[in-house]
């Protein structure tokens, strides 16, 4: 099957003054439709850069990204995007922040209200629908932004460390919820994380990146059954994948 996303020798160099930072160096891989790909790597290895390039929010310096066969040249609009920070509108309550996605697209807000409430409830925000962002914790804000990325049921979901601000327990719960939502919709997901267990738990494949310049060190296929359950975390195979990723990240 043809890949939904195709990275072909993608290079990205940031110029700040006379300083050049090579953020990405010759990144090439593909993501199949319906696949859940996770990307792990140390801070500063170009993960966010890769995601923004995929969304068409940053131009490449060299190489190309194709989504559904078409070179990405302008921002993609058929995607759901979760940035590393929540990026909520301070003057909108949680529910209205989720519905911004619908309003922006000129869809019928009334028709999506129920779905928005459902998503907020799934993310553990029941009872907080009518709170302003400054009344929510950082982790709760991020969950609002995830609901906002999911509400229009996009065929491609780009998520940048969405659970980075959550405690370990809530994070594990959110992982399960995300997989549940994903298994119902079967959209394609690019999911960036710092957490090796999270990468293994969620992904069909894990892209391991190394920094300076940002490169793909290894792409690992995670051959674990779905639906994934919490018990899987103690599975020797799961632990083996974690060890291999640690090795390729150069963790001693």
């Amino acid at each position: 099957m043809a890949n939904l996303i195709e990275y072909e020798r993608v290079r990205k160099i940031y110029n700040s003054g006379n300083d050049e930072v090579i953020a990405l160096e010759e990144v090439s891989f593909g993501v199949a439709p319906g696949e859940f790909v996770t990307v792990v790597g140390r801070s500063g290895c170009g993960k966010s850069t890769l995601l923004k390039i995929t969304a068409g929010l940053l131009p490449v310096t060299g190489g190309a990204v194709r989504v559904a066969g078409v070179p990405v040249q302008a921002p993609l609009t058929n995607i759901g995007m979760v940035f590393q920070s929540p990026v909520l509108l301070a003057w909108r309550k949680a529910l209205d922040n989720v519905l911004l996605q619908i309003e922006a697209r000129g869809l019928n807000v009334g028709a999506y209200r129920k779905r928005a409430l459902e998503l907020l409830e799934l993310s553990g925000l029941r009872g907080f629908e009518n709170k302003y962002p400054n009344e929510l914790s950082g982790g709760m804000q991020q969950r609002v932004s995830i609901s906002r990325a999911l509400i229009h049921d996009p065929s491609l979901l780009l998520m940048d460390e969405p659970f980075g601000a959550l405690d370990a327990i809530t994070r594990d719960e959110m992982n399960l919820e995300l997989l549940k939502i994903w298994s119902e919709s079967k959209n394609t997901v690019m999911f960036i994380t710092h957490s090796i267990p999270e990468a293994v738990f969620l992904g069909d494949r894990v892209v391991v990146m190394t920094p300076r310049p940002g490169k793909v060190a290894e792409i690992m296929t995670i051959d674990l059954p779905r639906p994934r359950t919490t018990a899987l975390r103690d599975d020797p195979k799961f632990i083996g994948y974690m060890r291999k990723i640690r090795e390729s990240l150069g963790v001693q």
Partner: protein, 261 residues
């Protein structure tokens, strides 16, 4: 209820009480220290001034009020429109905005006499123009900030939603600008009062600024203080209207400021 600077909020009740105490002390202490009334009148003398010349003072309040409000409204309108132009047009951003900053550093009050000559000393519009000139500047700067100081990723997100420019304006830039605009309104209204009063000082025709000049010439401190009282009440009232509007229009900001009484 706990009391103390750390736990209790500033309240209108206490500041009014404090103000009344000052007034009463003022009334009682002036005779004790034998301060002549042409230097500092007692509150009762000021009150008497209102009683005998209330109509005259009110007649002079109206022009000041109109000049202030018109100068402010025109300043706010042109300020916001220029801010929009500067944010949405690259050319204006590159040309007008930097020169505005230069113009902003001219003490605009210093050109008040010129404006009076150009537009006419009798016309209310010369004074409105002076009020406008001083009120306008903070409005431009604040609206430029309000329409453009937006988290870059918010605008990126809007792009991934396929948001149209007009929707982006209505749903992101406009609400984002409100706190900045209101900060501008508050600065502007205070400046508009100053502009109007200075214009009246210079033109010497009518208005509360004119009354202060008369009081000065006649060594009538009570009239000066009566005029200042009316001016302050006017400023406070106009400021209050802006704060009220702010609270209605920005419910998400409630409780952010200690000034949210």
């Amino acid at each position: 209820m706990e009391k103390g600077p750390s736990s209790s909020e500033p309240s209108v009740k206490w500041s009014v009480l404090f103000f009344l105490c000052v007034v009463v002390l003022w009334q009682l202490l002036l005779p004790v220290f034998k301060i002549p009334s042409y230097l500092l009148p007692t509150p009762l003398a000021i009150l008497a001034e209102f009683q005998t010349r209330g109509g005259f003072i009110f007649a002079n309040f109206l022009p000041t009020f109109y000049e202030t409000v018109l100068g402010f409204l025109i300043g706010a309108l042109i300020g916001v429109v220029s801010g929009l132009g500067i944010v949405y047009s690259k050319i204006l951003w590159l040309t007008i905005y930097p020169s505005l900053v230069v113009i902003g550093s001219i003490p605009r009050i210093a050109i008040a006499p010129l404006i009076l000559i150009w537009i006419g000393i009798d016309s209310i519009w010369s004074k409105v123009t002076i009020a406008f000139l001083v009120a306008f500047f903070p409005m431009v700067v604040n609206s430029v900030a309000g329409f453009s100081h937006i988290e870059g990723e918010m605008l990126d997100l809007a792009k991934t939603m396929g948001m149209k420019p007009w929707t982006e304006f209505r749903k992101i830039r406009l609400p984002n600008s409100l706190p900045y605009l209101f900060a501008g309104f508050k600065a502007s209204i205070a400046l508009a009062v100053i502009g109007a009063v200075v214009a009246e000082f210079v033109s010497g025709q009518q208005g509360l600024g004119y009354l202060i000049i008369i009081g000065n010439n006649d060594l009538n401190a009570a009239l000066i203080f009566a005029s200042i009282t009316v001016l302050s009440a006017m400023s406070l009232g106009l400021f209050g209207i802006i704060v009220g509007l702010e609270k209605v229009l920005m419910p998400w900001r409630r409780g952010i400021y200690p000034s949210d009484l």
